[in-house]
Symmetry: C2
Subunit: 632 residues, 2 copies
């Protein structure tokens, strides 16, 4: 059978536009004598669309467009994903019954399942982790099996087309390792001749590697060719923006990749299942800083074009984060649409000011300088001068504008007073340059450097931001566009005399140790807590467990120093860090745990287990004191 | 059997503190000769705790504390909710198997289920709508049934104590109307003698009414007494903060409430099941503005005490929203800890300035005035004066600081420059005074009036804010504390000459029509879209469907005017409104659909269905034009 897989960009929420594209590609496939054309999961509605599923006018429209595709299936088999509706039944939220479904159309009609009677195949395994909420919207076929008084195994049957018996599955159905049933195994047992997995699977670091291993193994184990079709584009859940890399691939029955489509490209791939076409390239992109760069560039560009954004303002400090962000946008925008703004304050050094000027010259971007000192002085006066009388005149106070208060005043002055105004006047938006290390512990000012329309690099650890800077200079620009000085100075917020870069002072982090530590709290699947950190510290396995190459003990004077550092950051991560992330901009995700909708957080405060106090007591030879845990 | 129900405040994330409280109450119950004491669902860990469930050190600790309670169950039966762990199995996310479970301890041991062998009863119905994410963390017993090769009905069995056969269920198990199985019915069929529903159920408007109807009906239908135990306190999911009202109740076997505990009170209730105690009060609070006021006061107070906040700054404009927020805090804080700040700008009228001064006098709060004109002028100059050269010197521009840009500069100057600095200097935080109507359509400035530590009244529609103001004056203060002038002037942002309150001008809303319209988009279970609005408009059922008491046609000159208003707000609700809500403060929820984690939104842009364009064409006698829907 001559099969074409279409790695299309799905526009979430725009069923008409997606359908128009699909219909054109079906016509093209027919004229190319293709026998079966396959589109991704949810290729009409999009997949990550929040609670849009609750709007009946929306899902009705998706269903209607599905029927247009059904009619177009003359002389060709068309397989695609869409929302399926059963108006005679309800979901457990009382709304109309909805399934995440694979539709197969042949001779102008959908092929019905003999078991359910439905003209579609239902997704069996429903992911409910990370950014996925399948059970919130789509009815679980295991519940349907109960309703029909069948076993779930009975519901899963191959689709009998005129050519092949197709084992049609959706995304998670192919990732069965943690489930107590395997749709692919059931389909293989029922003599499916070909597995087709339609997916809507966002890019995350190292997922493609794993996918290749898993799918290749399945094809080999069941001795069946396996076709994987994924969409490209961006989709979001409000707080977190995902890129979809596609990377659709075809595996032969011994598990070898016999063809794949480049990530982030809207392309098709034609294969003849039986007689393998040897000319097809197998693309295996290396999953490293380059792939993360691709995802960030792609996602940013798509996000901007979706909202019609053509002009970008970046506040540049002379530091690494803003330099990398500015460099990324210089690759997307014409120079006149990229405006870099330096906002020197009382603690800005000539060193960093000159570096940001040099950066803007190298990027050929427009550049303006607005000092914050006049406004900071005004604010300090306006806050500190007035005498505030108590209502009963029993007392009067003056506000105490401390140095710490002044640090944050500087940061907010830059973003909320200046950058937001500059961006609006320029006809654009301003960026958030936060990185993941700082986001983790809330080392940033709300309405200050944590403001912006999109947090472009907020899923990169600090060390990766440096890596990306070097990659940009070496492999993209092929010259020193980000000045070496920016890579060489210590990272510093320059908000006080304690952060003087010329004296080698800066932010209170020991990189890469803190990156590794924070990663263990945020990204480990079995998430580490201070209890685990102390266990490993005592076992001498801390470095191995958090992936830190040097010796942790070399960083700290003694055990107390190590523990007080640990508690300082844990308190911030679980305390103000959460409060700040709640009001942070959307994060562009590249990791398997991004802040926002993936990493769901409640404001519980920083807590430690009893075991933690025991371990701490042991290490410091103290009597454990579990009191005072509660911040109430 | 003499039973005591304990309506405790559960501190989410603090298992040790919750356990200490429970152990004390068990000792007290023993000394009071109680035979069975019952605590709420998840009374050790808390329930809405985000992804905290993924931390093994946390859940291990919860399990350990559960065993302390087990041991304490000598001479008494103890029933409570906790996380249950099966370390030999996994969840579908690959993490350790977890259940949301009810534990029954008797004679120092948990009673085991004969079917599962587990020393606990598993929650059967798992809510996955609104703020609930049960399937994300807890294993569904319907999947367990498949694993054990049983039917789910077989897994559900009464708990056989020495006294009664208890039908133990958890929260959603009692709300079975939309499910294809009913745990209560199964338990009744298996001869349970008493239903005990332990819950962790947040307050939302009208839920208590519905709960009474549902539970009373169940008790009556199955001829069984039913005990409902819910916790109090606050719990959050980051973006949304929930109050738990408790309102634990006992229904006799004909469905009559024979006892209940007041909402938001940590109290116990003792009943003798068999011989009904006639002296027990039945509390049925009326669910209206008073109950919403109770929830808001309770939630705000708890939120502050959880984070140790003792001082509050409110920016007061002389308008209704800030006045109500200030009045609410005056009931929580001593006057010296409440600081009202007026920040008059170029368009602030004497009328509103005087009203805010009068308000602060009435509230006996501290008051300060900081004009924004000097900073707005400075910003305007700093933005508009510099000449920006293109990098290639081909052109140069000046930024265009338009009137619209200046409006937002004023709003950000107030919140990010002044209020944030004042709050930090004062040793407190500042409030967000947004209401739900404005939140819906993003009628607010990011980093401006949309800043703040908590959006206290953001789940109240504008009309309800007025209702609350009148309620506060009449029923709480019992005099005119919120000056009548604030209720009488038109709502206005006073950011331009177009919003002059003395000329009767203000915000571009027709209340209460827009409240009703927006409510239909946000709060209707079957969520309305512009398509529905036009259908109803044509049918003449719009008023009935959205709950608006007057005639919509009286508000608009003609059909065009009506439709352009509709599209204006829909575009904002689905466009900038979402972008702003992503970065908005946590919302204190009182409705069954609050912004944040309850109402999950993706940035899809404003879209209209084809049917919408048909209807619009019909109404305006136009040829429908569905082009240009996409904002790309």
């Amino acid at each position: 059978m001559r099969i074409r897989i279409e790695q299309i960009e799905v526009l979430p929420g725009y069923p008409r536009l997606n359908t128009e594209k699909i219909l054109k590609l079906i016509e093209k496939a027919k004229s190319d004598k293709i026998e079966c054309v396959i589109f991704p999961e949810m290729s009409i509605p999009g997949y990550l669309i929040g609670d849009e599923w609750e709007r009946n006018s929306f899902i009705n429209e998706c269903e209607k467009y599905g029927k247009l595709i059904e009619k177009s299936s003359t002389e060709i088999i068309v397989i695609f994903g869409n929302i399926a509706i059963d108006r005679n039944k309800i979901n457990e939220d009382g709304r109309v019954r909805k399934y995440n479904a694979l539709f197969t159309a042949e001779n102008g009609s959908f092929i019905k399942s003999k078991k359910t009677g439905y003209p579609y195949t239902i997704k069996t395994l429903m992911p409910n982790y990370r950014e996925f909420d399948d059970n919130r919207h789509f009815f679980d076929p295991r519940k349907l099996a109960y309703e029909l008084d069948l076993k779930i195994d009975e519901l899963i049957t191959p689709i009998e087309t005129e050519h092949f018996k197709i084992g049609g599955i959706l995304c998670e159905d192919g990732w069965d390792a943690d489930y107590n049933l395997s749709p692919i195994k059931i389909l293989a047992d029922k003599e499916a001749e070909l597995i087709i997995n339609i997916s809507s699977s966002p890019y995350t670091l190292n997922k493609n590697d794993k996918r290749n291993r898993v799918f290749s193994d399945q094809a080999d184990r069941y001795n069946l060719p396996l076709i994987y079709v994924n969409n490209i584009g961006i989709q979001d859940n409000g707080k977190t923006v995902y890129t979809f890399d596609g990377y659709s691939s075809v595996y032969n029955n011994s598990g070898k990749i016999i063809g794949s489509i480049e990530p982030f490209k809207e392309e098709s791939l034609t294969v003849d299942i039986k007689k393998v076409d040897k000319n097809i390239r197998a693309i295996i992109p290396e999953d490293n800083i380059e792939m993360q760069y691709n995802a960030i560039q792609y996602g940013t560009k798509k996000f901007m074009s979706r909202y019609g954004l053509k002009k970008i303002v970046v506040g540049v400090s002379g530091g690494i984060d803003s330099a990398v962000v500015a460099a990324l946008y210089s690759l997307i925008l014409p120079p006149e649409n990229l405006l870099l703004v330096s906002m020197p304050g009382p603690y800005t050094s000539d060193t960093t000011y000159n570096l940001s000027e040099k950066l803007s010259e190298n990027l050929k971007a427009s550049f303006m300088t607005i000092p914050i000192q006049p406004s900071v002085n005004l604010t300090s006066l306006q806050l500190g001068e007035p005498i505030i009388n108590y209502s009963d005149k029993s007392n009067s106070i003056k506000l105490d504008v401390t140095d710490f208060v002044l640090e944050n005043i500087q940061a907010r002055d830059r973003s909320s007073r200046l950058l937001a105004g500059v961006a609006a006047s320029f006809g654009g938006v301003f960026t958030c340059n936060a990185n993941k290390s700082e986001m983790t512990v809330g080392y940033s000012t709300l309405y200050g450097d944590l403001g912006g329309y999109l947090a472009t690099i907020a899923d990169l650890w600090k060390g990766e931001v440096y890596e990306l800077a070097r990659f940009l200079n070496e492999s993209i620009f092929k010259k020193e566009i980000i000045p070496q000085g920016i890579l060489d100075i210590p990272p510093s917020a320059e908000l006080s005399s304690e952060q003087n870069v010329d004296e080698g002072k800066g932010d209170p982090f020991y990189y890469p140790y803190h990156d590794s530590l924070f990663r263990s709290w945020v990204e480990r699947w079995e998430r580490a807590t201070p209890e685990d950190i102390l266990e490993w510290y005592m076992d001498d396995t801390l470095e191995k467990n958090i992936g830190y190459d040097e010796k942790v003990k070399d960083l700290f004077k003694n055990h107390e120093d190590f523990i007080s550092d640990l508690e300082r950051w844990w308190n911030l991560y679980q305390g103000m860090g959460i409060a700040k992330r709640i009001q942070a901009p959307p994060v562009l995700a590249v990791k398997r745990r991004a802040f926002g909708f993936d990493h769901r957080e409640a404001q519980l405060g920083a807590r430690y287990s009893e075991r933690y106090f025991e371990l701490k007591g042991e290490i410091l030879s103290l009597t454990p004191n579990p009191e005072g845990l509660l911040i109430v």
